[in-house]
């Protein structure tokens, strides 16, 4: 009884790093502590602390070279950490060999054995562990990924999407404590990718295993995972539920890497209770204290483009609080479901605005004078010392 209560307590505080050493043995998920991997010329993973609750779909999101794959390889045992510990369900597995760990990987390139057929590829892990019922278990697994009829084909005879499912089946069949997915959808085209995302999520729900999914695709991470950790330069910038990360980013990197953000220079005028009042190029704006992530006098006021409302000067908009006059539309892109504007503000900065085409909105044209406004509760405040363009160049950073 009390043991169960202990466990719950640990789970509740799972995200924090303040637990004492003694608590490690009661945590049933995957726990990384002070994990570091240095190569000759750079540090790929720097003093990383991370808790992945059992049974969760966890995404490690970041640009290429941020250390996410190295982290994954350390959990798999394919890379030896320079320092730090890896605990799985209370056991220290830092020094164990990959074939001793109850952890399986779906490799980015699938790494299917070309000399074995699909059946034997999937059976590989079971045969190594001398399991019984190999025949029936493999059949069951192939049915789950809908590849039953392909059992006797070689990997080279399958399409990319089918190979991906073989790779998944080959790992899943071992019922690992943790399943690691290293950009498993990276090689698929967009349409197949979307359907595999749904498929993966369905399978994870069905089997209930812990999935750690490494990706540089923020959309993929947000749609699939229940917890996303945004990683940059070997450290975790922020971790949480996708909606929390998106709505309340704590750093400019997260604000830009996860979706898009307008970041505007501002000076703190006053902090009272739960509101921070700012001077933004002469316009007073306010930000909720819970969404303010800096204590200094200057900061980046952040607002997502779809939270910005656009209207003709003097038009009454549903956004009491922050109204900024004097904008000029400099670019209009019509997407059908929405219209994307670039609006030049009096201080010279161009802000992005996404307007939903509800049918009741005016579509502005290039050169029109407009007013922008947003509800204060959607704004956030970031540390001015951070680079306002960090993480913004994610498009084209793939590969």
């Amino acid at each position: 009884m009390s043991q169960a209560a202990d466990k719950q307590a640990v789970e509740r505080t799972g995200g924090s790093t303040t637990l004492g050493k003694d608590d490690h043995t009661t945590y049933d998920g995957l726990r990384l502590r002070a994990l570091t991997k240095s190569f000759a010329t750079f540090t790929a993973v720097d003093d990383l602390d991370l808790d992945v609750p059992r049974g969760s779909f966890f995404a490690l999101l970041g640009p290429s070279g941020c250390g996410k794959t190295t982290t994954l390889r350390m959990v798999a045992g394919l890379e030896t950490p320079t320092s730090g510990t890896i605990l799985l369900a209370g056991d220290d597995i830092t020094a164990t060999k990959p074939y001793q760990r109850p952890v399986n990987t779906v490799f980015q390139s699938y790494a299917l054995f070309p000399h074995l057929d699909i059946f034997e590829n999937v059976a590989f892990g079971l045969r190594r562990r001398k399991q019984k019922n190999v025949e029936s278990e493999v059949k069951e697994m192939l049915d789950l990924v809908e590849l039953g009829p392909q059992a006797r084909k070689r990997p080279a005879q399958l399409s990319g999407g089918q190979q991906q499912r073989v790779a998944l089946a080959r790992a899943l069949i071992n019922k690992p404590e943790v399943l690691l997915l290293d950009e498993p959808l990276g090689a698929l085209d967009l349409k197949l990718r979307r359907s595999m995302q749904i498929e993966l999520k369905r399978i994870q729900t069905e089997v209930g295993l812990t999935f750690i999914h490494v990706t540089h695709d923020q959309e993929e991470a947000m749609t699939m995972a229940d917890t996303v950790a945004v990683m940059n330069k070997g450290v975790i910038e922020q971790m949480g539920a996708p909606a929390d990360l998106y709505e309340n980013p704590r750093s400019t990197f997260v604000a830009n890497f996860l979706g898009q953000s307008n970041l505007i220079d501002g000076t703190v005028v006053g902090r009272s209770g739960d509101v921070v009042t700012m001077d933004m190029h002469g316009t007073p704006v306010s930000v909720p204290a819970g969404r303010s992530h800096t204590a200094s006098e200057r900061g980046w006021i952040g607002i997502r483009p779809e939270k910005v409302l656009i209207g003709a000067p003097g038009e009454a908009l549903d956004a009491p609080g922050n109204t900024i006059p004097g904008g000029i539309v400099t670019d209009v892109s019509f997407f059908g479901v929405s219209t994307q504007y670039l609006v030049r503000m009096p201080w010279g900065q161009e802000l992005q605005v996404f307007q939903q085409n509800t049918g009741r909105v005016t579509i502005f044209r290039k050169g029109d004078a407009v007013e922008l406004s947003w509800r204060p509760e959607y704004a956030f405040l970031l540390d001015h010392a951070q680079d306002a363009s960090a993480g913004a160049d994610k498009v084209g950073a793939d590969g």
């Binding site: 074939y99 054995f113 892990g125 190594r128």
Partner: protein, 286 residues
Amino acid sequence: MAETVRRRGRTGYLLIIPGALWLLVFFAFPFYSLIATSLYDPTGSDFRGYQMTYAFGNYVDVVEAYWQPLLRSLLYGAIATFFCLVLGYVLAYAIAFKSGRYKTLMLVLVIAPFLTSFLVRTLSWKLLLADDGFIVNTLQLLQVLGDDGRLLATPFAVVAGLTYNFLPFMVLPLFASLDKMDYRLIEASRDLYGNPVVSFFKVTWPLSLPGVVSGTLLTFIPAVGDFINAELLGNTNTRMIGNVVQSLFTDANDYPAAGALSVILMTMILAMVLVYVRRAGTEELL
């Protein structure tokens, strides 16, 4: 469209001509000549000339006279190929996966012996294994060899010489095979509960089989027919079939017997290779 297809077809035939001519002049004709010689009247000589008598008895005679060196050649060739495979596999594996930036250098070192003549290299082995040489003295000191034990002029020396001389022919195809192998496959095996030994035999070895087959062929075929190593490092009891053919041709001038022996050797090797490639090919190769 049709025009280009026809022209491409004609170009193909044109390109074959030089090679076909070469084969005709330097392979087909000598091969015919060899078979013809093997069937000449065995009582002929350089003075009286040879007559074509379809003397198939030549084949029976040479097998009766030389079955020992024939079997010895196959045995020495097989043992040398085995040692080449063991040594060569370790070397090729190390170069392919563990050499890092020294890969090219190590490959150059593998090929480096070719810069010296085969004959000179074998002669220097004669010096290395000499009765008063450093190696024999050391082995005697360590009591591995008796006081009057020797290495030169023993079967050991012949097989060792063969192994040394044909090792590069084993290493290069093995390296090519291992180098193009995706190392992530080995990682995948280790991730799927395969310990290093199991991973080797279930993944690395089967995927390197094309290299193993070509390496063993490139080693075994020339090793069986070799006569330099037996000549320089062996004794009269280690004569291989190449030595017999050579002395029949140059010393005894018994062309029909030499020809018959050559044809027998060639046929045997061809048959063995076909069986080997078919076995390895259908069951395990990609």
